[in-house]
């Protein structure tokens, strides 16, 4: 049962204004609004014209992955341990390891990744693979322009991940 005194909220309003005061207030506020919007024109645009201009990314931005090689020997850092695949919450990394041939080494370790695939259509760019890797073989790059027409094109193979990525995104400078 509702009690009128308790259940009904009494809205306290200010003293009722005369129509003239209301009209004056409306007119004044309209002028203030016009001033506000005109100030936006004076300020200019804040739009970034995307394909031509790009927002610079921070150094720790997590974009597309990169696989690395040793700069001096040219051997792959990845030893095919599959820790990245184990750490991956989206289960998008597939690693098939193989024994290194001592005559023709691929990686610095005992084994190497014969198959290393990242399904970028499933990757959530969490960076756990980078953290899990004991040899810093995989890092997150800065590229975020990865749209493609078919899903199979988004499965990146080892060669694609090893290749020097196109630097399509500007890096944010210190203090920018």
């Amino acid at each position: 049962m509702s009690v009128p005194e308790l259940d009904v909220i009494q809205v306290v309003r200010g003293p009722s204004r005369s129509p003239a005061a209301g009209a004056y207030r409306t007119f004044g506020e309209t002028l203030r609004g016009l001033k506000t919007t005109f100030a936006r024109v004076v300020e200019g645009t804040h739009t970034i014209q995307y394909p031509e201009e790009k927002t610079p990314v921070y150094p720790r931005f997590r974009g597309r992955h990169k696989l690395h090689k040793f700069e001096d020997t040219g051997l792959e850092k990845c030893v095919g341990c599959s820790l990245c695949a184990a750490a991956c919450p989206a289960d998008c990394i597939r690693v098939v390891a193989a024994e290194n041939d001592p005559e023709d080494r691929v990686s610095a370790g005992e084994r190497y990744a014969a198959v290393y695939e990242i399904n970028l259509s499933r990757c959530i760019f969490c960076g756990y693979c980078e953290v899990a890797c004991p040899f810093d073989a995989i890092t997150m790059g800065h590229d975020y322009e990865m749209s493609d027409y078919t899903r199979s094109d988004l499965i990146f193979t080892k060669e694609m991940l090893l290749a020097e990525p196109l630097e399509r995104t500007p890096l944010r400078r210190e203090g920018e």
């Binding site: 129509p19 609004g33 919007t37 024109v41 200019g44």
Partner: protein, 339 residues
């Protein structure tokens, strides 16, 4: 031949046809640019660029859109009333264009030995003609909304009926003040009567009332309840696509131009320049157009500024504020003119 109205200045028939074509061509050349102008200006008001991809500065955007609209399938809902559904946009655009004939772009001049008035026609019932066409243009909106057989359209049409009729009263009364001061119903005569002083000075209250009512009459923000995109999808033209939609859209822009031109003629001295500057006759249309652009810019500025009114606010503003003010303005003007 039936005389529709007394005509103050009359040219031979072929001059009139050429004038009609020129006015039509120029206005419909300007219209697409106006749509881009509105979108770009609205963008600036919101920190963005507006269309800038098609052509230089996005100027070819309307071309792309016209092609897009023209290629659309002409579909209509099964609940719609066929021929009325097709008639409505035609009615809207025809009445809007018809009002353009009245707008004085300049005085009488001599072109190739012919005395030509730089306006469609100068009738002795100028504002009445404009209001008559405005009255018919309601039918375009109401039929469009009703014949669509859709609830959103119907709501928009009902709002349009109430809104346009209420605000037309104030709009008309605001103009009566000017007509009484000038003592003529010819729009060209009214411009000539303003040689000394523009009517915006003695009729400032009337000017404000006219502008407020014009925003409602042209269904522009903050009185765009008729098409209220947030509530009614698009109001009366929800069900229209392709060319029907373009007709309604363009009729809105033409109405905006007509209202601006009427305001220029009635309150800003038409083609006359202030401070006694006398411009050559070929400048007249440019002067009128420049003044019109001020109003159109103001229309867009207001659209970027004010939120839409609630329906009861709209009605109470129209009947309780605007109409009494317009009547008071009329009364005061009458007393001043008579004494």
């Amino acid at each position: 031949m039936i005389a529709f109205a007394d005509v103050n200045f009359y040219e031979s028939w072929w001059v009139q046809i050429i004038k009609a074509i020129v006015i039509f061509a120029v206005i419909f050349g300007i219209l697409p640019v106006l749509t881009v102008y509105e979108r770009k200006l609205l963008g600036r008001f919101q920190h963005r660029y507006g269309p800038n991809r098609v052509g230089p500065y996005g100027l070819l955007q309307p071309m792309a859109e016209i092609v897009k609209f023209a290629r659309k399938e002409a579909s209509r809902p099964t609940t719609s009333v066929g021929w009325l559904f097709r008639l409505a946009p035609a009615l809207a655009i025809l009445t809007a264009v018809g009002a353009l004939a009245l707008i004085p772009w300049g005085g009488v001049t001599t072109i190739f030995g012919q005395r030509v008035g730089l306006y469609g026609i100068d009738v002795s019932i100028g504002p009445l003609y404009v209001f008559a066409l405005g009255g018919i243009s309601f039918y375009g909106i109401m039929l469009g909304g009703w014949a669509s057989g859709s609830k959103y359209s119907f709501l928009g049409a009902m709002r349009a009926a109430a809104q346009l009729i209420s605000y037309e009263v104030s709009q008309g009364l605001a103009l009566v003040g000017v007509i009484m001061t000038s003592g003529t119903l010819s729009l060209v005569g009214i411009v000539h009567a303003q040689q000394g002083m523009w009517y915006i000075v003695p009729q400032f209250a009337g000017f404000l009332i006219f502008m407020c009512a014009s925003f409602a009459e042209t269904n522009r923000a903050p009185f765009d309840l008729v098409e209220a995109d947030a509530e009614l999808v698009a109001g009366y033209f929800t069900e229209y696509g392709g060319t029907g939609f373009v007709a309604f859209l363009f009729s809105e822009y033409v109405n905006m131009m007509v209202v601006s031109a009427i305001a220029v003629t009635m309150f800003l001295g038409g083609w006359t320049l202030p401070f006694g500057i006398v411009s050559p006759v070929w400048c007249d249309p440019i002067v009128v157009f420049a003044k019109m652009m001020i109003f159109i810019t103001f229309f867009i500025w207001i659209r970027a500024t004010l939120p839409r009114l609630r329906y009861d606010q709209l009605m109470s503003f129209g009947w309780k504020v605007l109409l009494p003010l317009a009547t008071l303005n009329l009364l005061v003007t009458a007393i001043v003119v008579a004494s």
